[in-house]
């Protein structure tokens, strides 16, 4: 009687959460080093530029964290959907439309409302627009069984076309060629981090990093609380693990699907806070720049846990910023080469994740070495 331990036991938690990702990143950089060698450059120097470019000085850190902010939002968005076993590929479109919501609030309110009112309105608008864009695919999945992967991809295209139409025909500032709105009044600017820190007497270099970074971290904590400490999170996870058990427990799968996707879309929509309200201060095209898709890799690497996602976002932010610096310092390593390096990191940490994990965990699983078999 009593416990039947799982047949092979399990490896200590730190192996899964720390060692395996570390080995994967190391392998990714080794492979990248080979690529750099192949084009005749020094991989050690390239690595130094990459790390220095991401973390070497205050402005670099600011840029890294600015990119990190976007990855946290989209990574969390993918992760929450994934806990309900929904694959939200539509983060890109939801971020785009979320940004539209933020921009509309700023354009409408910047001349008459104080910042203290615009900020919460923008947060609500970003969330609501992003959620609305996720709601339609979610509803179709829940009620009609249309596969959410297909519909969310389609909605990315619809979002893109809609934005082009709006920017070219409706929101463009009259008298100019580029499809951009007028610049918001300063009342609708989310303060930069260097400005915010200056108010409390800390001087740091200028960078695009703004207060939305704080909001991203708050969202991470909030999502952790939601998933593991509320009954809604409990229902999301139950549905994700076992739909029959969810129905048995009186959970309505369609309701949970719609709720989860709306939360997911809202999180993606917050990219607009960072990009539109925080940095660009106007509405424009293509500000999402692939962050929605990168969120999938971020969530995968962060194992769908907010802590993991923040760490993975930091890595991706560093690669974006350090990569830009690298291609500037070593011109033969072009922007495209940097994309290759980023791709290798995604490949090793995401796609090849399960190549090494079982073996590494097996190494730590059997402390009692088997005696020689006869």
């Amino acid at each position: 009687m009593g416990q039947v331990p799982s047949r092979l036991g399990s490896a200590p938690a730190w192996v899964g959460y720390a060692l395996v990702p570390l080995v994967n990143i190391t392998l990714a950089f080794l492979a990248s080093g080979l690529v750099v060698l192949a084009i005749g450059e020094d991989p050690i120097a390239a690595m130094e530029f990459l790390v220095y470019g991401a973390f070497g000085y205050a402005e670099a850190i600011g840029y890294t964290l600015y990119y990190t902010t976007n990855f946290i939002f989209t990574g969390l968005a993918v992760a929450v959907a994934f806990h309900a076993r929904l694959f939200n590929i539509g983060g890109e479109g939801q971020a785009y439309i979320g940004g539209l919501g933020v921009g509309l609030v700023c354009l409408a309110g910047d001349s008459m409302l104080p910042f203290a009112l615009i900020l919460p309105l923008c947060i609500v608008a970003g969330a609501a627009f992003g959620a609305a864009w996720a709601f339609v695919p979610a509803y179709l999945q829940a009620k009609r069984g249309s596969h959410i992967v297909i519909t969310t991809i389609m909605f990315n295209f619809i979002a893109s076309a809609l934005m082009v139409y709006l920017m070219v025909n409706v929101l463009i500032k009259p008298g100019q060629m580029s499809p951009e709105s007028r610049e918001f009044a300063e009342a609708a600017w989310l303060p930069f981090m260097h400005e915010a820190l200056a108010w409390i007497g800390i001087e740091v270099s200028r960078s695009p990093l703004n207060l939305s970074f704080i909001w991203a971290l708050i969202c991470g904590v909030g999502l952790w609380l939601l998933l593991w400490h509320t009954r809604w999170g409990y229902e999301i996870r139950t549905l994700g693990h076992n739909e029959s058990a969810a129905v048995y427990a009186g959970i309505s799968p369609p309701k949970v699907i719609v709720l989860t996707m709306c939360i997911s879309g809202a999180l993606a929509g917050f990219v607009g806070l960072n990009e539109i309200m925080g940095v660009q201060h106007r509405l424009l095209l293509n500000f999402t720049a692939g962050y929605g898709f990168a969120g999938i890799a971020v969530a995968l690497m962060g194992r769908n846990h907010p802590v993991g996602i923040v760490l993975a976002s930091l890595l991706f932010g560093a690669l974006y910023q350090g990569g830009a610096e690298l291609s500037f310092e070593i011109p033969t390593i072009t922007r495209e080469m940097v994309v290759v390096i980023q791709g290798l990191v995604i490949l090793f940490c995401g796609a090849l994740e399960y190549m090494l994990r079982p073996r590494i965990e097996a190494l730590f699983r059997r402390p009692a070495a088997p005696q020689a078999a006869t």
């Binding site: 129905v247 048995y248 427990a249």
Partner: protein
């Protein structure tokens, strides 16, 4: 432990294991295990879950290598490092969960992995001839050209047996072969095993069902806690002795229960009809009632509508006609309730498949132990769940139901079958429901836990609860139920007082062979 008398000791035993030991990290799965299996016999190996039966057979079949010990086949020492070696040594294995490709035909499945020629056509022709011979010799008839996925479970198992024989197996290991079979299919399997024995094949039967051991085996070995504790000639032992050897203490196989004192009807079902998604009628105009303080058992071969009936009563599955009355609450198809509403009406449900429905195996035990009650105010506030209260509640339930280990944070999947079932039972029973629906309460559960589960159900009855029990184990229905209702093809074909039920009559009703039943 003492060897049993060796009947035909002239020929070497088909299998001899000497001092097999195997450790996994901290667990001694097999400790100095020795076993002799005579050629041409059916040898049973029994033991509770975790006793080391499966590990021992996995060593014999080459999935694991033993840390120490010797394996002799037909008196010759052999090294078995992989299932390939095992097949070469003439060992075949039929797993509990079949290893078949559903979309392939029987013939293709048999050939899969044992192809001798490059072209498929030649292989299939060769296999067809060989299978015709096997079918003749052993009475293993299966439609060779039917896709495996469309065959009944019993036939799929035959395909597994054919696969092993096709590969030249003379020693056949069956791991819990009857877990998925109906009583009739079990009988047919036993016929096949006897035919195999008649042709000189050695059969090793791993099970925890004492009835099967007594019915079919020649000898039996008992494992407990990774060790071999006894070998017996089946004819010289009985169920009580084997149960005691398995558990290590006296076990009450009969359920000790007094007479029922039923009160008012708590659950009334009238003309209930359930059709599934494709329009097939699964439950057909079923009426019965369950009074407080009695256990009503629903007997029947699995697949005759019992599952759909239970799901309809629990609010999981919609029904198309009829009425369900719980106390004063009347539910009809126009006014359905979801499972949460049914729970609020005092109905608790232990589903027949705890992995598919009753638990979330990936959850911690404390999370699984609130499934369905997670909106209850004792577990959640307006926003945040009361994690401490949930853990404390789970720990208290684990104490009262003797769940081991008592670790609320352990993943549900890491508990044994019996302990998982106790987690479900504790969750559903501790609510003191008015009505308790119980499906297959002891499927895949250790014998020691079965005793406890049966006693708990009787205790619920004695406390005034209306208990509706569905089980494919006739023994279980007969020993627990105060009234037995028999279902066949979605209809109720008979009703018997529990005290007057006998296996023969029930069996005939279950096969719908008694027109004048009830």
């Amino acid at each position: 432990m003492a060897e049993t008398g060796q009947a035909g000791a002239v020929t070497a035993p088909a299998i001899e294991l000497r001092g097999i030991s195997k450790r996994f990290a901290h667990v001694h799965a097999n400790r100095d295990v020795s076993l002799v299996v005579e050629a041409g016999t059916i040898h049973g190996i029994i033991g509770e879950n975790g006793a080391g039966k499966s590990t021992l057979m996995s060593i014999l079949y080459g999935f694991y290598e033993a840390d120490s010990g010797d394996i002799l086949i037909d008196g010759q020492p052999v090294q078995i490092r992989s299932s390939h070696d095992a097949i070469d040594a003439g060992i075949g294995m039929v797993h509990q969960h079949f290893m078949l490709v559903d979309t392939f035909t029987v013939l293709e499945n048999v050939v899969l992995g044992a192809e001798t020629e490059a072209l498929l056509a030649g292989n299939l022709a060769h296999a067809r001839a060989e299978l015709a011979r096997l079918e003749r010799d052993y009475g293993l008839a299966v439609d060779l050209d039917a896709p495996v996925g469309q065959l009944p479970v019993g036939d799929q198992q035959r395909v597994e047996i054919l696969k092993a024989l096709y590969r030249g197996a003379r020693i056949l290991i069956l791991d819990e072969p009857t877990g998925v079979l109906t009583p009739q299919e079990t009988d047919r399997l036993f016929e096949v095993l006897k035919a195999l024995r008649g042709q000189g094949v050695t059969v090793i039967l791993i099970t925890h069902k004492l009835r099967e051991i007594m019915a079919i085996t020649d000898r039996v070995s008992v494992m407990r806690g990774g060790e071999m504790v006894a070998h017996r000639v089946t004819a010289d032992t009985d169920r009580e002795e084997l149960a005691e050897l398995m558990v290590g203490r006296k076990v009450l196989l009969r359920v000790d229960k007094g007479d029922a004192s039923p009160g008012a009807a708590k659950l009334k079902v009238e003309g209930l009809t359930v059709r599934d998604g494709s329009g097939v009628t699964r439950v057909d105009d079923v009426s019965f009632e369950v009074r407080g303080g009695e256990i009503v058992g629903i007997a029947g071969v699995s697949g005759n509508g019992q599952s759909q009936l239970m799901e309809a009563l629990a609010g999981i599955r919609p029904f198309q006609a009829g009425r369900i009355t719980l106390g004063s609450e009347v539910i009809d198809p126009a006014d359905p309730r979801d499972p949460a509403q049914m729970r609020a009406l005092g109905l608790a449900h232990v589903p027949e498949d705890r992995h598919r429905m009753g638990l979330v195996t990936a959850f911690e035990a404390d999370e699984s132990s609130i499934l369905g009650y997670h909106r209850d105010r004792s577990y959640t506030g307006a926003i945040m769940m009361k994690m401490k209260a949930i853990v404390a509640d789970c720990l208290a339930k684990m104490g009262r139901f003797d769940v081991r280990p008592q670790q609320p944070h352990l993943r549900t999947a890491n508990f044994s079958g019996g302990n998982q079932q106790k987690i479900v039972l504790a969750r559903e029973m501790e609510r003191r429901p008015e009505i308790l629906l119980v499906g297959q309460p002891t499927r895949g559960v250790d014998i020691g836990a079965i005793e406890f589960i049966h006693q708990s159900l009787v205790a619920m009855r004695d406390a005034g609860c209306a208990v509706l029990l569905v089980s494919v184990e006739l023994d279980e229905i007969m020993s627990l139920a105060d009234r037995i209702v028999v279902m066949f093809d979605g209809r109720i074909v008979g009703e018997v007082e529990g005290s007057r039920a006998d296996e023969r009559t029930l069996g005939l009703m279950m096969a719908n062979a008694m027109d004048d039943a009830a």
